[in-house]
């Protein structure tokens, strides 16, 4: 073989290598797994689907825009979701699978205190960044000092006092509050905070509890009615249970005010309670008619059918805050991302606007997102914003 031929072959081989290298570089996108722990069955399903779908839409938009560029690499994000059935044991199992088998470094969820408290012993020692929405103070105030967990929605601690004050003005003659709550971490943690806020404002409070999975609430409601309560507060009941409580309360002749101080999303309640939901007052996280919320609502309905739960925009908001923190950190190192997240105050997030981290006083760590919320009222089967409250 002549030297010229050898040279030609070598040149061609080099060109081929260069071309394939360029092609490889163009597709050199790594996959980053993002975990989701959500209630995908039972009474908390609406919340779980809201969580999963909100994160999924944020991921879809990021991937469609070319992926997440960190330290010279480009990542396509892939969501892996497991059902926690709104309980601590299943949430722990889900966290174990995500952290130890799927090797994820970031988890969205769970929603609800039982799942959140159940998953922390797995995620926090492993320094997995977690974005939860449960109302128990211990989610942030814990043995790990809330180091890698952020609560991305107001909790009872943040919204109870402002709601009670608003209710006091709205119904000045109301004196006695009734609350029926699940007998789990959600009820045990949230109800005392809410009850304290009511008592501080001059109300008397009656409470009772039920086991998760209960569908027939009439005996409990009759028990409550015997106390002559003026206001029935649904507190943090999941949409499935809250809808049934409204329906059955009206069916047994309860005529007082029904309010839900907590829990995102109102459409599921209207769907379950039907016309009996009329007059309901409810805390909610967003006003869908706001210009900054509308694009997300449109994206949601383009991808999913049915009712959109309020947690979808909450988690979409949280996912976008995280992506921005990751870009600023320029690394996949969770400690550096966490540090950037803490410095995000003032960042204009897509749903709630400027980020405000709080919580140092109540939880010992500023990992609590504080945002404006609304009180909605149901009239003729439709919910409309009755008040906008900034805590």
């Amino acid at each position: 073989m002549s030297s010229k031929t050898l040279k030609t072959i070598a040149m061609r081989a080099l060109c081929a290598a260069a071309l394939s290298g360029a092609a490889w570089a163009a597709h050199a996108q790594e996959t980053m797994k993002i975990g989701v722990i959500a209630s995908l069955s039972g009474g908390g399903t609406a919340w779980g689907l809201g969580l999963e779908r909100g994160v999924q839409i944020a991921i879809d938009q990021l991937n469609a825009a070319g992926g997440l560029k960190l330290g010279g690499k480009t990542y396509q994000l892939k969501l892996i979701a497991y059902d926690d059935q709104y309980n601590a044991a299943q949430a722990k199992t889900a966290a174990d699978r995500l952290v130890n088998r799927d090797q994820v470094k970031i988890i969205f969820g769970p929603v609800g205190s039982p799942g959140a408290l159940g998953s922390l012993p797995v995620t926090q020692p492993a320094r997995v960044l977690q974005f939860v929405d449960g109302y128990a103070p211990q989610i942030l105030r814990n043995q790990w000092k809330g180091a890698y967990v952020f609560r991305i929605n107001n909790s009872t601690q943040e919204f109870s006092e402002p709601i009670v004050k608003w209710l006091h003005k709205f119904a000045p003659n109301a004196k006695k509050i009734g609350m029926i709550a699940p007998n789990d971490a959600t009820g045990q943690a949230g109800v005392p905070i809410l009850a304290d806020a009511y008592r501080k404002n001059g109300f008397t409070v009656w409470t009772d509890s039920y086991e998760r999975g209960t569908k027939e609430f009439t005996p409990l409601l009759l028990r409550m009615m015997a106390q002559n309560v003026d206001v029935f507060d649904l507190n943090a009941n999941a949409p499935g249970e809250a809808g049934l409580l409204i329906k059955q309360a009206r069916q047994v002749g309860y005529k007082g005010i029904i309010i839900q101080s907590g829990g995102a999303g109102i459409d599921e309640l209207i769907q379950i309670a039907g016309p009996l939901a009329n007059g309901l007052l409810k805390y909610d996280v967003i006003d869908e008619s706001l210009p900054r919320v509308k694009p997300f609502v449109a994206a949601y309905h383009q991808k999913y059918s049915g009712v959109m739960n309020g947690l979808a925009p909450v988690y979409y908001n949280a996912a976008n805050i995280l992506f921005e923190a990751m870009r600023r950190a320029g690394t996949t190192d969770n400690t550096q991302i966490r540090d950037q997240l803490e410095k995000m105050t003032g960042y204009d997030a897509p749903i709630f606007g400027k980020v405000v981290w709080t919580g140092e006083k109540d939880y010992g760590v500023n990992h609590q997102l504080l945002h404006t919320f609304v009180i909605k009222e149901v009239t003729n089967g439709k919910a409309s914003v009755k008040a906008v409250i900034t805590p």
Binding site: L40, G213, K215, E216, R250, G306
Partner: protein
């Protein structure tokens, strides 16, 4: 505290609960009484009945009086395939049926999750009307369910005691070999009993979905209710279902109101445990030789 109005409402609630419990348990006890099959997939058929009603009544908008029986009929007809490929192998095999049908229950439930996802849905009630009598409030939907439960109980009793097929079912239940020697086609009789049982489960599932909510998981509480009712009343006994349903319904209503839900659950299951120890054949069941 507990005014006469509240006490009256507790009684009204007891009637409503009992009616639902009776309807849920009727099909369950029939399958056991005739074929000695403990149908742990009972709740799954009730759940399918809820979805069938959701589409026929809530979706297609058929008149309720057509949609409710048609939904149950569709589920019972499709279930005949399972009768041929699954249930037939478990007739007169009580313990095998428990495990086998528990597996079938899980399979149907998670197929439903794949088909419809786990989202909770609402099936519109046939009426939202609330009837007022003095200070008492009667949800019309629950009154309809109570009326249907009473009619179903009576029809069941008349069918099994006075009709040719009903008598053949009872004969097969007592001794299938002797019944066959007398000309009873046990395969056809079993198929008929299965069809009626699934029809009742699906009908009850539709009512349950209207009263509460619908998801692939609503079958589990219904199975539990059916199980408690028939253990209280006696496995296989139709009057036992009536008694068991009334006892459980009124116990839940009164105990839940006066002592709270935890006490109500404790007493219900406590009664079942005591009964299984001291009278395992139930209050109106027949002691096996």
């Amino acid at each position: 505290m507990f005014s006469p109005a509240v006490l009256g409402q507790v009684f009204v609630d007891g009637i409503g609960l009992s009616a639902i419990y009776i309807l849920i348990a009727l099909g369950f006890t029939l399958l056991f009484g005739i074929m000695r099959v403990v149908n742990f997939a009972h709740g799954a058929f009730a759940m399918l009945g809820g979805y069938a009603l959701y589409y026929l009544y809530g979706g297609l908008g058929l008149p309720y009086l057509i949609a409710a029986p048609a939904a149950a009929l569709i589920v019972a007809t499709v279930a005949l395939v399972l009768e041929r490929v699954v249930y037939r192998f478990f007739y007169q095999r009580m313990f095998q049926s428990m495990i086998g049908l528990l597996g079938l229950d899980m399979a149907i439930m998670y197929l439903a999750v794949i088909a419809w996802n786990a989202e909770e849905r609402s099936v519109p009630p046939s009426t939202d009307a609330l009837l007022h009598m003095g200070s008492l409030v009667f949800p019309a939907q629950k009154l309809i369910i109570a009326a249907i439960a009473a009619i179903a109980l009576l029809a069941f009793y008349v069918f099994t005691h006075y009709s040719r097929y009903g008598l053949a079912m009872r004969a097969a239940a007592q001794d299938v070999d002797i019944a066959e020697a007398q000309g009873v086609n046990s395969t056809a009789i079993y198929r008929l009993a299965f069809f009626i049982a699934i029809f009742m489960a699906a009908l009850a599932g539709g009512f349950y979905a209207q009263t509460y909510a619908l998801s692939p998981f609503v079958g589990e509480p219904q199975l539990m209710i059916a199980f408690i009712v028939v253990i209280l009343g006696g496995m296989g006994s139709i009057p036992g279902v009536a008694l068991g349903g009334l006892l459980l319904g009124f116990a839940n209503s009164f105990l839940g109101t006066f002592y709270g839900s935890a006490t109500s659950i404790f007493v219900s299951f406590g009664a079942v445990i005591l009964l299984l120890i001291f009278r395992p054949w139930g209050l109106l069941g027949v002691k096996e030789a």
